[in-house]
Amino acid sequence: MKKLFWVKAALVILAAMPVAILFYRGLHDDLSADPVEYILHYTGIWALRFLLITLAVTPLRRLFNLPVLLRFRRILGVTAWIYASLHFGVYLVLDLQFDLAHLGEDIIKRPYITVGFLAWLLMTPLALTSSNRAVKALGRRWKQLHRLIYIIVLLACLHFIWLVKADLLEPLIYTAIALILLFYRLLQTNRHSKHSE
């Protein structure tokens, strides 16, 4: 039990490393010519990475028979939400400088922002229901609610694809990973339903 605590603590530190690196670069004036753009992209990409890592827990746990991995999923998922919130916060505070009219226009008129905003919005109830108490209180419905992550990750990928100008390679790599992780679940459910027949 104690050992698990230390592994979790290490994981939290690891999850915070990108922010630490960002601060370090900021202090050394090393955030490119357009730091707002840099931080926006940086926090966004880490949100997506942690979403994918969170989604990878179940397949990895089954493939390598490591049930203990499940104990780290909450930290990973909440980290994804924190990065997504930083991403949205930087956009609202540093980029738009609280111009709420601009925010409203962006969310309504710019599809890539619409889906990005929606992804963050849908993540929020998941982050809020990550305590043990919420898991207990919600029972079966907790699992149903947290299946939203499948939609969230697709929205996040779409957000990325729709904002690039020409080179789709990077967003498509992330999307491919997301699809593989989702496809794995589809296979699992099919197998399970066949077994039960």
Binding site: S32, D34, L163, K165, A166
Partner: protein
């Protein structure tokens, strides 16, 4: 002569600007004495000494903060080298732009392949400090060195049937490594209508910040069209073609619903995916708290270029 309306002498404090003004005045002085700039006399220098704007070439932005050289030379798009903003500076280091040949073709009296140095020898060199507005909604203020495009065009003598001028970037994957990937159709192409090209503001840069043009910024020669989105300002030009048909321009070819031929900076016409109403200005110092600034029609150069588009629906011809 008109002044820049939003420009107040007391704003002129930045060291860079003063430095650029001095250089500009030096150039202007040389040009004035050699008769290139009628109407611009030594009073300009006197005025500047009294902390006033010189009254020739009001489109030289002597009172807007100049972008730090290190940003203008390390943060830009040049897909021939890299898709990352900081990629061209790293990957173009060993690019050798000398010697350089430019092919002139089409409806022109002087077609042929020219050595660049000979082609532009003797054209009146000057410095222009222009706003540079990227279609991605960031902007800079850059002091370019070079000559007005019309000087070169006059030298080449296009036929009266020429209505457009088209430009091409070098295609040589061994020297421009990202051309091995087919991210966009190579070579990169751009074009201007003849009257746009002959406008006083259309500029050919062979340098910036008083130095030869860095490789990553389009050495040895590039176009600078300050009232249009940055992608019109084609880099590392190897071909100039005069034609009577509207030429292909690369971004229009890639995504015709998003990028037009004209690509005039226009806050009223949004990019289909993002707003063009404002921009993040990259100034002398990178900061997290630089406010977004409003994008101006024709990037603030309407006074000089709006007439070119009289009667045109700029929503259609975006």
């Amino acid at each position: 002569m008109k002044f820049i309306p939003d420009c107040h002498p007391n704003e002129v404090t930045d060291e860079d600007i003063v430095r650029h003004r001095r250089r500009f005045l030096k150039n202007a002085g040389i040009l004035a004495t050699s008769g290139f700039l009628p109407g611009c006399d030594s009073r300009a220098e006197e005025k500047a000494q009294h902390n006033q704007k010189p009254d020739c070439k009001p489109y030289n932005l002597l009172c807007e903060e100049v972008t730090a050289e290190k940003y203008a030379t390390s943060y830009n798009n040049f897909y021939e080298f890299s898709l990352l903003k900081d990629g061209p500076a790293r990957l173009a280091k060993d690019f050798n732009p000398h010697p350089w040949e430019v092919k002139v073709a089409g409806l022109v009296e002087q077609p042929g392949t020219y050595d660049l140095e000979k082609l532009i020898a003797g054209l009146p060199n000057e410095e222009r400090i222009y706003r540079f507005r990227c279609v991605e909604a960031w902007s800079m203020v850059i002091p370019w060195n070079g000559f007005a495009l019309h000087h070169l065009i006059r030298r080449l003598k296009p036929l009266s049937s020429a209505r457009y001028v088209a430009f091409e970037t070098l295609y040589d994957p061994n020297r421009m490594p990202n051309q091995h990937r087919h991210v966009i159709p190579w070579p990169y192409r751009e074009g201007l209508r003849m009257d746009e090209a002959m406008n006083e503001l259309a500029f050919m840069a062979t340098g910036m910040y008083g130095k030869p043009l860095p490789n990553q910024n389009g050495a040895p020669i590039r176009l600078v069209v300050p009232w249009k989105y940055g992608f019109k300002s084609i880099k590392s030009i190897v071909a100039i073609h005069f034609t009577d048909k509207q030429p292909v321009n690369s971004w229009h070819q890639i995504a015709p619903q998003e990028y037009g031929f004209y690509a005039n900076v226009n806050p009223a016409v949004d990019h289909p995916r993002w707003s063009q109403a404002s921009e993040r200005r990259i100034g002398a110092k990178a900061s997290l708290f630089n406010p977004r600034i409003k994008t101006l029609p024709f990037n603030g150069y309407g006074e000089y270029v709006a007439d070119l588009y009289k009667g045109m629906d700029l929503r259609r011809f975006f």
